[in-house]
Symmetry: C2
DNA sequence: CGTATCTTGTGAACGATTTCACAAGCAGGG
DNA sequence: CCCTGCTTGTGAAATCGTTCACAAGATACG
């Protein structure tokens, strides 16, 4: 199987969302040009991206919204629920947790952990915040597949090491540090400061 | 002036952080190899990135931590404070606001707006949440340069249109939609669902 | 002062990604 | 049933980004 670039995967995710909108708007069919326009890319790019996985369209007609929706869902692995744990129930963690949209998109947050004894035992959504010490065992017992790390920078590497040891295969990191994970574990970072600095650079170089 | 890729800017931002750590640890000097190792890249990459802006190192020695710190700050436009507005004071907006680290890094949140009358008038940090109707005028009057958009997806395009019209030149968007901005305005997106889907893809294709 | 060691800065090679361009498939109308 | 208009899928070309490899500057030391 050929290698798929991260940017291609990002765009697939985007197409998925655009297709859901088109579907909600009642469209039966959609062309690469329409997807491109709504997604801010080009029709050739759309076709190339899709061609990495097969050929789903009809010449002269475009793509069936329904079918493409299902295909992309399958490609992205979104036809099942993923078991997710949230680590860190601070401001950001809580905000993420309350964003119930994840659930609808296949990511079920099944456990929340925090180190702060003040927070342990409090309710968050339908769950109870659990103690840090329970984490390692719980991640294993509940076969958590994805960890969202929303702890302070100093704690993040330690947390991710434990999480990996507990068998979690993918990590979404919000701490502003570069984490090391063993090969085979997938890591993505969300770093707001870094994004702001990107904006600063753009404004500055005019 | 040659074009600088977004990835190069991201890495500069990263180097800046690594340099701050090195500085805090008392290092006087640092080599491209050391930066590379800590940043998860290669020494050639580090040197190439820096060479886009000049030559700051001493052969045989490496870079002066202090000097490189200042140089990168200058490149990224971080030697001044930026005037930032936060639009949307929901869970996510509040979480972002309370993350005071931005301030220290040169991004001063000077105004918060929300459409919800319940929220308007309430205190958030040192600021008062202001009404949506005041926004356009306030952005201009206070010469806001960067807007952080943390409103629901449906509202985001409308908000960003107004923000752009009010003279804001850079937008950090948290809404899960593809926004259109005129050329000359810089847009960055933070889209957590998209990141999670990237993880799903990786887990799914094993 | 000469030699050994280190590390930068940078063309050139390489690899990856995006864009181009066009043959081929499909639908609709006359 | 053929012609027109539209759109896909995909090699080939172009562009962009990364890695290689090495000359040259800098220091340390005998």
């Amino acid at each position: 199987m050929k290698k798929i670039s991260e940017s291609a995967v990002r765009r697939l995710s985007l197409y998925l969302r655009l297709l859901q909108e088109a579907d909600a708007a009642g469209a039966e069919t959609i062309s690469s040009g329409q997807l491109a326009e709504r997604g801010g890319t080009t029709s050739a790019q759309v076709r190339k991206d899709l061609s990495l996985f097969g050929s789903f369209g009809k010449r002269g007609l475009g793509y069936s919204v329904q079918e493409l929706l299902e295909r992309i869902r399958a490609i992205l692995g979104l036809q099942r629920q993923w078991r997710v744990a949230l680590i860190g129930a601070g401001k950001l963690g809580s905000a993420l947790f309350s964003y119930r949209d994840f659930e609808a998109r296949g990511f079920e947050i099944r456990a929340v952990f925090d180190r702060d004894p003040e927070k342990v035992g409090t309710a968050l959504g339908g769950l109870t915040v659990r103690a840090d010490e329970e984490m390692d065992r719980a991640l294993r017992d509940e076969a958590i597949e994805i960890a969202i790390v929303a702890v302070p920078g100093e704690a993040a590497q330690h947390v991710v090491d434990r999480v990996v040891k507990a068998g979690v295969g993918a990590v979404l990191n919000f701490a502003p540090v570069r984490l090391k994970v063993p090969r085979g574990v997938t890591l993505r970072n969300v770093d707001v400061t870094l994004e702001l600095e990107g904006l600063s650079f753009a404004l500055n170089s005019r």
